[in-house]
């Protein structure tokens, strides 16, 4: 694992551990309201959109199978992709980590032609991979401004904020706040918002449209991610709703695509399947409004200079773990976030990573190291809703439990003395492996329970780490007679 290095960009942002980070999110009533509304709405839409497909379960199985096959033969498909992109006039770069990927992008932008001003500006299509490597920050440090063109990303960027949802990055903001951000900040970065801007969604969209149009028409370099890349043809696919991505992908002269190596699929024909699975799971639509596909360079049409950066950034380490690597099948639909009882309450920032929610809880510790993100595998009730919703059947609860074991192991290795939790678990395991000791413990608990229970015979406060439990929940006192004691008296001695 890549615990001791920081080459991985912004996978792990080093925020407080999940329980603490969650606490402030839980207290944010506006966030809670927005999250509840958004997740409830999109859950219902997704159920409709997936429910109407007669063979949805078979489609999921097929998606999982293709992804399994791809991860098993990843090197093969990546080489095939490289060959086909190159043959079609594109250039392929390999980046081991975030720093290397950022350097390549920076070099390409500087070489991108145009005047002095143009060499310092790029437009961007919404992309998780570039967020993961902290590309905007790296470019800014090099004097290059990256303009996000996805509406929600624009809101996040102008608000100097972090995305909190894969698909709806500004889920934590409401209209009035967006109006304020636009009115205050747009002018600093280009065309200002109209003076009489209201918080009417139409007016907000129009302000964004005018602001962005200026960027599209002047930028010479665009940067995108990729949803899929077909190895057998070298075709890249970007799926989006607004059309701003399409503008970026077609207008500038140079296009740079940063893609995690796991996004490759064996064949162009596989897109038929994934373009059903993705929109239905993600926005609950039968089809997404814009699907852009391109293969290298087409003379006289679209960008004439195309670069594909294949990003590893810890992924080959993940591949070695046969349980954990399922997470690499993710198509970033965000269905798991929307059905997650934890995400619905805490939102994305508490996960301390560009990858929030259930998929973040299994991906971040694997990419950034279980020691750094030790609280994330525990940020789940293991309710299994994510697994049922996932269009490529990633068994997230299985990976969570697997990673919990790794966290416990890492703590065992790192410490001279066991943690109090480890001691308690060891003691519990000794008692629970002995019916005799269990009986003794039950009798002791019954006696103790009678002493500690208050009015109404309930235990209102428990000691130590159990205090969190008893802060909001009463506990019944242990009964006078355990089941095994009752059985002995009433069945064995009858």
């Amino acid at each position: 694992m890549t615990d001791d290095s920081d080459h991985d960009g912004r996978v792990w942002l080093g925020t407080p551990a999940f329980p603490e980070a969650a606490r402030s999110a839980l207290a944010d009533t506006r966030l809670r309201h927005n999250l509840r509304h958004a997740t409830t709405t999109i859950r219902a839409k997704r159920l409709d959109a997936t429910g109407e497909v007669p063979h949805w379960e078979e489609l999921r199985e097929a998606g999982a199978a293709i992804k399994r096959r791809t991860t098993r033969h990843l090197a093969h498909y990546l080489e095939q992709l490289e060959a086909n992109v190159t043959a079609a006039g594109g250039t392929v770069h390999w980046a081991t980590d975030a720093a290397e990927a950022n350097r390549i992008v920076e070099r390409l932008v500087r070489a991108g032609g145009g005047g002095e001003a143009e060499r310092h500006e790029v437009v961007k299509v919404k992309s998780m991979a570039t967020q993961e490597i902290g590309l905007n920050e790296a470019l800014a440090a090099a004097g290059i401004t990256a303009y996000e063109t996805d509406l929600a990303e624009l809101i996040v960027q102008l608000g100097q904020d972090r995305p909190s949802h894969i698909l709806v990055p500004a889920i934590h903001r409401n209209r009035a706040e967006i109006r304020e951000i636009f009115a205050e900040r747009m002018g600093e970065r280009g065309r200002a918002a109209p003076a009489d801007l209201t918080d009417d969604p139409k007016a907000l969209a129009e302000a964004a449209r005018l602001h962005l149009r200026e960027k599209f028409l002047t930028a010479r370099v665009a940067i995108s991610g990729a949803n899929f890349a077909a190895a057998d043809t070298g075709t890249i696919a970007v799926v989006e709703s607004e059309g701003n991505g399409r503008m970026c992908l077609t207008l500038p002269e140079t296009l740079i695509t940063v893609m995690g190596i796991e996004k490759v699929v064996p064949s162009f024909a596989d897109l038929e399947l994934f373009l059903q699975l993705l929109p239905r799971s993600s926005t609950g639509e039968r089809m997404n409004p814009y699907t852009s596909l391109w293969t290298g360079v087409t003379p006289g049409d679209g960008p004439q200079d195309f670069h594909l950066i294949l990003l590893d950034n810890g992924r080959t380490d993940v591949l070695k773990d046969t349980v954990g690597r399922q997470a690499l099948a993710c198509i970033r639909c965000s269905a798991c976030l929307n059905v997650c009882p934890v995400y619905e309450r805490t939102g994305g920032h508490a996960y301390g990573s560009v990858y929030p929610g259930p998929i973040g809880a299994v991906l971040t510790p694997q990419l950034a190291g279980v020691r750094r993100a030790a609280s994330l595998p525990f940020a789940s009730t293991l309710c299994g809703a994510c697994y049922d919703a996932c269009p490529v059947k990633i068994d997230i609860p299985e990976i969570l439990v697997h990673l919990r074991a790794k966290v416990v192991e890492a703590k065992r290795d790192d410490r001279a003395l066991p943690t109090p939790e480890a001691l308690a678990m060891k003691a519990a395991s000794t008692v629970l492996d002995s019916p005799g000791l269990l009986g003794v413990a039950q009798r002791a608990a019954a006696a103790g329970g009678r002493l500690t229970s208050g009015r109404g015979g309930r235990i209102r406060r428990l000691p130590g780490p159990l205090g969190g439990w008893s802060a909001t929940r009463d506990t019944p006192p242990p009964p006078r007679e355990s089941f095994r004691a009752w059985w002995r008296e009433n069945r064995e001695e009858r």
């Binding site: 416990v408 929940r473 242990p478």
Partner: protein, 245 residues
């Protein structure tokens, strides 16, 4: 048919009434139940919290104690799911051939109570009488672990006198999650708050489920609020013959 009761450590220690209820129901249906005394725990807490080596003795004990039973019945969907899904995985990981075989022998005989009643015994009316307003929470492990479907509801609908009311957003998690409720107590409580709201809005007197662990959490919150709703394991409703004696 030799029926072994796996009562679970939680029920044995805190909810013995649930174990007695299972015995009552099965005996009423004409079966003899055995309680192998050397049983303890399915190791779910240890396994799910990341303590794999510590779970092994319990997994081995389960396979040893319940070897030879035709049916192993347990009033816990989450323990049934643990045994079915994870005992084989652990045995496989250990590479212990004898354990792997012992686990493989015993796992197919494990039934959660409502599965056993509906699928194996083929009954839905177990002769219960329970004249109360009741709502049912399908726990996550009932729904997505052992996939009980509507078995619990079919059994409940056959109870005489019951006023069974639907629970809104029933499939939503209650926020328990074992050690999650302790490690992430605040988030757990936030999830619980919504579950309690839907439960209270049914006007039910009793909330039931196929797992006392989730019920301990929801019930703990309901009692703290003096909500007037009590929690009861489904088995205890199926065992009830109120007012008939």
């Amino acid at each position: 048919m030799r029926i072994g009761l796996f009562v679970t450590c939680l029920n044995d220690t805190l909810f013995p009434g649930t174990g007695r209820a299972v015995v009552t129901v099965l005996e009423r249906l004409g079966h003899t139940v055995e309680f192998p005394r050397d049983q303890t725990c399915c190791a779910q807490m240890h396994f799910n919290t990341g303590y794999r080596p510590e779970s092994v003795p319990m997994v081995a004990r389960f396979a040893r104690v319940f070897a030879g039973y035709d049916a192993i019945v347990t009033p816990s969907a989450s323990c049934a799911a643990m045994i079915r899904d994870n005992h084989p995985v652990l045995a496989e990981q250990l590479g212990d051939a004898a354990l792997r075989e012992a686990v493989a022998d015993v796992v197919p005989a494990v039934h959660e109570l409502t599965e056993f009643l509906v699928d194996v015994l083929g009954v839905t009316d177990v002769g219960a009488v329970f004249p109360h307003r009741v709502t049912y929470h399908p726990t996550c492990h009932s729904l997505r672990g052992v996939r009980l479907g509507d078995r619990p509801l079919r059994l409940l609908r056959a109870v005489k006198g019951i006023d069974l009311v639907d629970l809104a957003a029933a499939d939503a998690c209650c926020g328990f999650g074992g050690t999650f409720a302790v490690k992430n107590a605040d988030t757990s409580t936030a999830i619980l708050a919504d579950k309690m709201t839907t439960v209270m809005s049914t006007g039910a007197e009793v909330l039931c489920a196929a797992d006392n662990s989730c019920l301990m959490h929801i019930g703990g919150g309901l009692v703290r609020l003096n909500s007037g709703v009590r929690t009861l394991h489904l088995a205890e409703i199926l065992a009830a013959t109120e007012g008939t004696r």
